[in-house]
Structure formats: structure tokens, C-alpha cells
């Protein structure tokens, strides 16, 4: 589960398990809060 920036390729990749979404850096940064809130599903707390 994470957010990875590849600025060289102007790409941001969101992953959680098998799920994956990609955005341009500009598109992601302009709406990061809403994109992350919609994409990431809360996982159980770690022990």
C-alpha cells in the first residue's frame, strides 16, 4: 500500500494489494487528498 512518484516519467502510482491507479504528477498533486481518500481502503491496525 503506497504512493510512488516517478517524476522523470511524470507518473504517480497508487497501490493497495492488487489494486493500482496511475496519474500524472500534476493531476495527482492537484487533487491528492480526494484521490487518496477514494482509493485507499483502511486496513486493520497493526499489532
Amino acid at each position: 500500500m503506497g504512493v510512488h512518484y516517478n517524476h522523470e516519467q511524470n507518473r504517480v502510482t497508487l497501490t493497495q494489494g492488487e489494486r493500482r491507479e496511475e496519474y500524472t504528477v500534476e493531476d495527482f498533486d492537484a487533487n491528492a487528498d480526494a484521490i487518496c481518500a477514494a482509493f485507499f481502503i483502511p486496513e486493520p491496525e497493526e499489532e
Binding site: G2, H4, Y5
Partner: protein, 253 residues
């Protein structure tokens, strides 16, 4: 390697007169140059540059670092904690040493508490051996990374991949923008003061212990969020907080 034997006195007229060398010339102590300990040698004393580099480059230990895998510097030895909030306008520099050389393509960290509309940057600085403080501009740095979600975050290093040497002190730098002030929390290493600062940087006795001052795990400088500064020009201060040893993740190229 050439070894030169020099006489303390030189006979004159060897090739003239009776052809004999004075006994003083032979009996005086001789000076032999070209031999010495390894510690005394310089790269020029070796036959090839490769031979010198093999001797002088710090030796890597441990298994190979696999391309594409993520690693913590070996100086993170404790358990990972929930972390500590980052203040805006402050760069936190946490010292680390690698057991094995690694070429790094990406830097990462884990955000344990998000900061909406915030950003952080990550970097690695070289160490000034005369002061054991970060120096120069970063040898590796990322552009801004959103703190919009409490997840692992990472970014490619600006420019080419960066080779980090074994047994060499580096500084992992963490910087939050104004929007993220006081809210973004990055994962830390709980045994901070022992795992990094006190082992490799050192300081006053109460700075490396866990006594009244709480120990030390980093240095910091005040700087408005923007372009990474030359650390040599920063006013670096030591602040007691043993647990603020932010955990920098390194991706092997």
C-alpha cells in the same frame, strides 16, 4: 614498487685513482625509501589505480542488495515506531551508515498520520568528517511528495541513481512544507539515540545517554520549504529527542 637505497655519504672519485670506495661511504647507515606500512601509503604507491581503489575503498559486508528491493540502513537496529510529528520550516538530518555499498534509485518513508494538502521532501547529504555534520548540497534528493494519505510514500531521485559507499557516514534529511506543519508524522526508529547518532556522530555524554536530556538522534536547521540548501551554510543545532530518528527507506537500483 621501486625501492631506493641511498648512502648517507657518497664517495667521490670512484672511477678514478685506485678505483676503491671509501670505507666511510659503505659503512655509513643506508636509507631505504619506498617501503612503508599500508597506512603510510598513498594511491600513487600502487601499480594501478584499481589496485589502490581495492585497498582504500571501504569493504562491503553482508549479502548483495537486490535491484528493486527496499532497504533500511543497517544503523536502524530497533523496532519501528508510530513516529513523531514534523514541524514545518525545519530540516531534520538523521545520521546513518551502510554495511554494504548500494546504488539507490528511490527514497521512501512511511507516513503514519496524514497531513491534508501537505508535502514532504527527502534527501541524503554527505558528511563533513571534520565536524560530523551534514555538508554541501544533497547527493540524492526527491521532489515533493504528497502527505495526503497515511501510507508508504516514495519518489525517484532527481537525476541519476546515486552510489552510496559502505562504512561511510551519511545524513538522511526530511523536510515538511507549511501546510504539513505539526501534523504529518513519519515512522521512526525507537532505539534512535543508540542506533544512529551516539554510535557514529557522538557528542557530550548527556547527548548520547537517555538521561535528563532524553538523548539525541538528529540535528536540525531552520529553512523555509523550497530548494534543498547547502548544509554547510545552515545553522545546525542538536536537539534532544531520542525518538526522532526518522526511518529513511532506500530502493536498490
Amino acid at each position: 614498487m621501486a625501492v631506493t637505497v641511498g648512502h648517507a655519504t657518497a664517495a667521490t672519485g670512484v672511477d678514478s685513482g685506485d678505483g676503491k670506495i671509501s670505507k666511510n661511504a659503505w659503512n655509513e647507515n643506508h636509507t631505504i625509501t619506498g617501503l612503508g606500512t599500508m597506512a603510510e601509503a598513498t594511491a600513487a604507491d600502487y601499480s594501478t589505480t584499481a589496485q589502490a581503489n581495492a585497498l582504500y575503498t571501504p569493504k562491503s559486508r553482508g549479502p548483495a542488495r537486490l535491484a528493486g528491493n527496499w532497504y533500511f540502513p543497517e544503523s536502524y537496529t530497533g523496532t519501528l515506531a508510530a513516529g513523531i510529528a514534523m514541524a514545518s520550516g525545519i530540516i531534520y538530518y538523521c545520521p546513518f551508515v551502510l554495511e554494504r555499498a548500494i546504488t539507490v534509485s528511490d527514497l521512501g518513508a512511511r507516513i503514519t498520520t496524514l497531513a491534508a494538502s501537505g508535502n514532504i521532501k527527502l534527501a541524503i547529504y554527505a558528511n563533513d568528517a571534520s565536524t560530523n555534520r551534514p555538508t554541501g548540497t544533497p547527493i540524492a534528493e526527491t521532489a515533493s511528495i504528497s502527505t495526503a494519505s497515511a501510507v508508504n510514500v516514495s519518489a525517484d531521485i532527481t537525476g541519476s541513481n546515486v552510489a552510496l559507499a559502505a562504512d561511510t557516514l551519511y545524513w538522511a534529511a526530511f523536510w515538511a512544507d507549511g501546510t504539513a506543519a505539526g501534523t504529518v508524522i513519519l515512522q521512526t526508529n525507537t532505539t534512535a539515540s543508540v542506533s544512529g547518532f551516539s554510535r557514529f556522530v557522538g557528542g557530550a555524554q548527556d547527548e548520547i545517554s537517555s538521561g535528563a536530556t532524553g538523548g539525541v538522534s538528529y540535528v536540525q536547521s531552520s529553512e523555509a520549504y523550497g530548494t534543498w540548501p547547502d548544509a554547510a551554510s545552515e545553522s545546525l543545532t542538536v536537539t534532544s529527542n531520542a525518538n526522532r530518528y526518522y526511518a529513511m527507506q532506500l530502493k536498490a537500483a
